[in-house]
Symmetry: C2
Subunit: 413 residues, 2 copies
């Protein structure tokens, strides 16, 4: 990724993972939470405590690990060790769930040092099998390695069909006397890209060895999430467990402050990792075969654009039309008009794959073959201009297929 | 249906239809809108002009026939003839669509007298084949009969699998010197019971020979819709075409005024017809195999209860769990907690088929077989108490199955 045409400042690391970040080690194993025997527990541990921030679900009944991370990061925005389990979300589990999440953090701190953070995903409303989990933490803590990046990614999966991890190298510019420096941003995520996930919670951990100051780490993470995970239909306010963590620190460079050139470049690197993880999630949506990128412009403000974009990409008829590869654009306009915004037919324009389908108050009726082809590609760009202002937003959504229904109807408690 | 134990005031008419209402005739035929050759055009005509009211979609881009009906009923709340077509929604069709809807009303008034009203359902964004439609109106007008009730119901269908029509007899009590009187309420509807319908718009016509005063007809219809069509997931604010019409008048009794005993009984009769049609719609949801009735109590006000009920019944994970017959109640609580209400885990209680599954801040873990059985029946009642107040609401939803995806993915423009 080139930020300017002259100098490449953010470069993808081939086969990079979260553990491409210097100073991080990890381990993953099957602790027995999943009856299938598949990997279900992972540790990520930094050589030393680093700055940490989190963005969490807005669901009114957050899971126990979400409450634990929120409380700990509010008290002290630092972290050293993260335990991630799949197979059980530790949500709707009452006081016992809170005690179980605390016990996981305590055991992790005993084995790997702290502060410790906890992420869980899986079934809701079932008590955690703590003997297996604590035993799993003990065993994994003895196996930490910088080579476990893909294993960590795998142990987070539930209905995902592939691992989601990547890393970039970021060249920090010289700044106020500090020499240029190379740092790494890596990330890992799980999630199935559909709305209202429960067994399909979205979790992500992003890390960098660049030392972000405490003043900057929260806003940096929020900005990256806003441009990535909040622009896919796995959005932050649905599941009980959705969490994105950022760990930053370790490299022998001076702390990076907000509003500096170094920070701008590092933000770009973090944004790239977040965007790549978000795209991986939506493309691996449960049963998904196709991704639609919806760009809404001409709204009265970005919030209005976002509301319209979300209403369209949450529409079941739009998602099933996408599954059928059918450019049934009437469904897109009908869904947009259902967002509670007083749209006017004569101000709207809609294009699919760069071809206008609706403008000037009526259908265009041209390029039908090109439009049908664009809508049946693996990725289709749909542009909707509301003709009311300068607000804009973007959302990525996958399609809803019979495979989605199969996964979610036939998953039994 | 007995309103009191002593006197049956509202009684179902066996094989009743909209045209069971004295003074109504109808006709239906294949005009050629649908390429399949199935019936696609129906007329309903009253012997004389009667009072009329409508409730319409809140979609910001209503279809041309919705705009026409709104405008005409605002000017004069009366109607005599209704034309209903399926196969084309006349939505997103610009100025031409408005002219086409007006031409349909004009032709109908020429043939059958007015005022005329127009209802359309079907594909969005395609111009109406006006030659066929006008020819169809001409032919149907020559065939009006009181025996065409089922044919009218059939000509309205799109993806529906069965007709939806019923009627009741209502015994109006003596009132202020007027003798008791028997009147009929009949109705017809189409709709496939899913969210964001487009080819699956919800349309309904309810009629009675009881003469409702102009002061009472609008509020009577709104009350009936609130307790029926607005409590299923085909709700009034989604499609471009959703319409419910009420026609009232003709019987030789004195006008029925609001807030009288006669009005209360007639309202009950209209409510019964609306409720029956709504249940028929949700049970015939595209691909549906099962209906869930969600009762939310303990909210801070009915609006809050309604918001939670809609959030849960719109949840794709809840609807697919229902398809699987799987009492995955964690999904129900997680969806409720996503409504933006500050719920507290320890105040919630949830039961399925009368058996408690969550209370006192945690899972109950009893009666698992009975709960699984209740959730796999054709109809399941789920009760969610929020523990915050006295507000209550009810929603009916069908399940989302592979059949739904098949219908909506494989329907091509």
């Amino acid at each position: 990724v080139a930020l300017s045409q002259e100098t490449i400042m953010v470069r993808e690391i081939e086969e990079g993972t979260l553990l491409s970040v210097p100073g991080l080690r990890g381990a993953a194993l099957s602790s027995g939470i999943k009856e299938t025997g598949r990997p279900d527990l992972a540790l990520v541990v930094s050589d030393e405590p680093v700055a940490a921030a989190g963005v969490f679900t807005r669901n009114a009944l957050p899971a126990a690990p979400v409450k634990l991370c929120r409380r700990r990061l509010a008290r002290e925005p630092r972290g050293r060790a993260v335990v991630i389990n799949s197979g059980n979300a530790n949500a709707m589990t009452g006081d016992r769930g809170d005690r179980d999440a605390a016990a996981m953090a305590e055991r992790l701190e005993e084995r790997c040092g702290g502060p410790a953070l906890v992420l869980s995903t899986g079934i809701i409303g079932v008590p955690m099998p703590m003997d297996r989990i604590l035993g799993g933490i003990d065993r994994a803590a003895a196996e930490l390695s910088p080579d476990a990046g893909e294993a960590v990614a795998e142990a987070m999966l539930t209905t995902d069909t592939r691992i989601k991890t990547c890393a970039v190298e970021v060249k920090l510019p010289a700044d106020d006397g500090a020499a240029p420096a190379r740092v790494v941003v890596g990330g890992v995520a799980k999630g199935s890209g559909m709305i209202h996930p429960d067994m399909a919670t979205m979790l992500a951990v992003i890390a960098t060895d660049a030392p972000l100051g405490q003043d900057a780490i929260c806003s940096t993470l929020r900005a990256a999430v806003q441009r990535s995970f909040n622009e896919i239909t796995v959005d932050g306010d649905t599941s009980t467990n959705d969490t994105v963590l950022l760990l930053a620190g370790g490299a022998q460079t001076r702390p990076i402050l907000a509003d500096t050139p170094r920070h701008a470049v590092l933000q770009a690197g973090i944004d790239v990792v977040a965007e790549q993880l978000a795209r991986m999630i939506v493309a691996d949506g449960e049963g998904a075969t196709r991704v639609m990128e919806l760009r809404v412009t001409g709204a009265r403000g970005d919030d209005e654009a976002r509301l319209v974009a979300r209403t369209v990409t949450d529409s079941l008829l739009v998602k099933t039309a996408l599954a059928g590869g059918d450019p049934n654009w009437g469904r897109i306009l009908a869904a947009a008009a259902n967002a509670g915004i007083p749209l006017r037919q004569e101000e709207l324009s809609l294009s699919i794959g760069g071809h206008a389908v609706f403008a000037g108050g009526g259908p265009i009726g041209a390029h039908e073959q090109e439009i049908a082809k664009a809508f049946s590609d693996a990725e289709v760009v749909v542009e909707l201009d509301l003709g009311r202002g300068d607000g804009r937003a973007r959302m990525l959504t996958s399609d809803i297929t019979k495979g989605y229904v199969e996964i979610n109807a036939e998953y039994h408690t």
